[in-house]
């Protein structure tokens, strides 16, 4: 059973309490939208949920097991997209996809279709530093489609995307939800229907 459970989670940064005693449970097919002002701890919460940061108190369970215990096995089910796109600027679009495939221990197959969907097909052999900010973001999103995983944790995925690509992303998100996937998304745009919303306030 794919369940993400968060209990009594707190986050303190530089002696400032960002949030305390946060509890929620996400079941298969749930999408959680995290809202809040700048500096309210959205990115910090997402980093905690990926297991990259360790919480001061509280626990996070994936499939009833603590993510600290799961360690790298948690990564099998998880896609994390941070503010940085995680792309190497001296590699081409295609080489970046290869690198991502290697990191996820996956074979890179049928990527042309995904690139076409994201309007990147013509740029396959371009270096990433030659792409625009929106194109880089699209390439970063390509891994969500190419390597299906259950849990998506996305930090402002719509940044610098044009309306057409935003629609592509939303339809992919809907497909992900229909397949029983879980997504946790931080965003300033209230764009999602049927999503749970978590508002982080300044304490």
């Amino acid at each position: 059973m794919d369940v993400l459970e968060v209990t009594h989670l707190s986050c303190i940064r530089q002696h400032k309490t960002l949030f305390t005693d946060l509890n929620f449970t996400l079941n298969a097919g749930d999408i959680l939208l995290i809202e809040g002002e700048n500096g309210s701890g959205k990115s910090s919460l997402l980093r905690l949920l990926t297991g990259l940061s360790t919480p001061q108190c509280g626990s996070i369970f994936w499939r009833r097991q603590s993510i600290q215990q799961l360690g790298t096995r948690y990564g099998q089910d998880l896609h994390y997209l941070s503010h940085q796109n995680g792309l190497k600027s001296e590699l081409t679009v295609k080489e970046n996809l290869q690198l991502t495939a290697e990191l996820h221990a996956n074979a890179l197959t049928a990527f042309e279709h995904t690139l076409a969907l994201l309007q990147l097909n013509a740029y396959q052999n371009y270096f990433v530093h030659q792409l625009s900010a929106g194109q880089k973001r699209r390439l970063a999103l390509a891994k969500l489609i190419l390597f299906p995983k259950t849990l998506w944790i996305l930090d402002e995925p719509l940044t610098s995307l044009d309306t057409a690509t935003q629609q592509v992303f939303l339809s992919q998100l809907e497909a992900h939800r229909k397949k029983g996937g879980i997504a946790i998304i931080s965003s300033h745009h209230p764009f999602l229907l049927n999503a749970h919303t978590l508002r982080l306030g300044s304490c």
Partner: protein
């Protein structure tokens, strides 16, 4: 794994400053020794090996100093930590590529430098062998220092203070090896020490770097 190795090599070769700067630095420092100490061939024959080793040591720091910098800035480090490839293995691959691109050219150039300074063939052999065994240790320990100080301000200064004391034994064994070959003594003693240290460091340091990176990213 081979795919990652290939892409790492490609990345390093495309950033030509990664291997060009340390190589140029190495050559320039070595040309300083005859200028600063003495151009006397007999003197240089005796002492230049130490100079070459000191130059190689600093060149190796220069090459690793920015090792995880781009990875961190571009968010690739996070993807490495979350990826399915075991992190120590990934780091070992990265370090191998790094060593091949930044240190091997310097080692290949050493016999030529030896000829310039009129070193005998057995001394050139000992010197090159000592660099071949010693530079992987420098790359590993240097990278460990980088991983520990990642994201700190004034990283460079701290790196030197942290790492230089740790690599002194390498310098001592390597230079002993060359000195012994100069007086026609057996070099197997320091050679064995250097080889042993090299294997030890290559085996364990990737794990330590992996742990350091995980702790470093946990903020």
């Amino acid at each position: 794994m081979l795919g990652i190795f290939y892409l790492e090599l490609l990345l390093l070769l495309r950033r030509s400053q990664e291997w060009l700067y340390p190589l140029a630095f190495f050559l320039i420092v070595i040309t300083l020794f005859p200028l600063a100490l003495s151009p006397d061939p007999l003197f240089l024959q005796k002492y230049i090996a130490g100079g070459i080793w000191i130059a190689a040591l600093f060149a190796s720091f220069l090459s690793v100093a920015a090792l995880f910098d781009a990875d961190k800035k571009e968010g690739h480090l996070e993807q490495m930590l979350l990826g399915q490839t075991p992190l120590p293995l990934l780091i070992l691959t990265k370090l191998t590529a790094q060593w091949l691109v930044t240190q091997l050219p310097l080692i290949i150039l050493t016999p030529l430098l030896g000829l310039l300074f009129h070193l005998s063939s057995s001394v050139i052999f000992a010197l090159t062998l000592s660099l071949l065994l010693g530079t992987p240790i420098l790359t590993c320990i240097g990278s460990l220092g980088v991983a520990l100080t990642l994201g700190l301000r004034q990283q460079g200064v701290l790196l030197g203070l942290l790492i230089l004391p740790l690599v002194m034994p390498i310098l001592i064994f390597a230079v002993t090896m060359v000195q012994q070959s100069q007086v026609q003594l057996a070099i197997s003693g320091p050679l064995a020490f250097l080889a042993g240290l090299s294997i030890l460091v290559i085996t364990f340091v990737p794990w330590v770097i992996a742990a350091a990176l995980r702790i470093g990213m946990d903020d």
